[in-house]
Subunit: 200 residues, 2 copies
């Protein structure tokens, strides 16, 4: 994925700056966000604090509302990202495909406390529009999020996020995601099928 | 799945009654529950109120804690199950495999308000140990749950459940689940692979 020459970091965390993130990155309608997360893929969560970006692997997330899209997620206090998420109230949920499986595991097996993960794992941070946390160029979708409810953070480390802006890479058609079954056992997406349904 | 002749319904909702649910149903250690839900499968949620059982299709759920296992889920106020879950504070999360895909969709496309779904869709309710909501014999795993936190119910319809007891069918080895991508598009589990990981 190539970054556009007009790409620049958002100056403020609250207001979205409209510009082209990358030549191949396309705005995804917010109404379609749930279709990315409802299937339960392993995702990456990026944060930025004091000018330093970090990324963690995450599987404990779910949709809460269609539109505006709300997402709940659990980030452990043991994760270095926890403090950044709580302090900045911003993050990006990046959705990787199966080609990144080894990196997803490696990212989950070390801490941002002592590892600069973007550099170590060869991930390309791209500036987001609405948050300071970076998008990940190698992921086929990126969701810019803001924490909108922290009532269950102290009890369960459970954050409620609103997706402010969503991006997808139109070059990646039907990317296959991975799902974690514990202790390094993963299942990749298999066959797609359609059934007549009135369910959104 | 056959029910044991010793199977009987739990008399009280709070106390777990220990007995054999079915000849082929096996207790699943609570520490393994997250391995069922973390991958994000479409599940069925059963409730029972005033002696009447109901079942709905659900994809908005996530793990919150390993052990005791805590699960968060969103049940819409538009769902007939919402009132039963809020009133009884009990449910069963049943995990169906891909062979039940058509039933999963049919269950999601009608309401317990006017349909007796267990009968209509040929599902076999089995008595649970700890809750009045029934297990589903045709599902390869069943989780008996109690609502432990309702703070985000009024704002987001978000319930936090504790899994009190878990069951799996040992005859079903490596069952493939399904994941919903919206509007009747589903992806079934594909290839399983293992990567060296320190992540639980």
């Amino acid at each position: 994925m190539q970054t556009s020459s007009t790409a620049r970091r958002s100056g403020t965390s609250g207001a979205c700056v409209t510009r082209k993130v990358g030549l191949t990155m396309k705005n995804l309608p917010l109404a379609k966000v749930y279709q990315l997360l409802e299937p339960g893929p392993v995702v990456l969560l990026t944060t930025a604090r004091n000018g330093r970006a970090n990324v963690m692997t995450m599987s404990w997330h779910m949709m809460v509302e269609f539109e505006p899209p709300l997402v709940a997620c659990v980030v452990s206090t043991a994760d270095y990202s926890f403090a950044a998420l709580r302090a900045t109230k911003e993050c990006v949920i990046a959705v990787p495909a199966v080609d990144l499986a080894q990196k997803i595991v490696s990212i989950g097996n070390c801490s941002g406390r002592n590892v600069a993960k973007f550099e170590k794992f060869g991930l390309t941070p791209l500036p987001a529009d609405c948050v300071k946390a970076p998008l990940i160029a190698e992921c086929f979708a990126n969701l810019e999020c803001r924490v909108v409810n922290s009532r269950l953070v102290s009890k369960y480390n459970l954050f409620v996020l609103e997706v402010l802006k969503a991006w997808s890479d139109p070059r990646r058609r039907n990317p296959k995601t991975i799902h974690h079954h514990g202790y390094g056992k993963f299942v990749a997406d298999g066959d797609t099928f359609r059934l007549k349904s009135r369910m959104r």
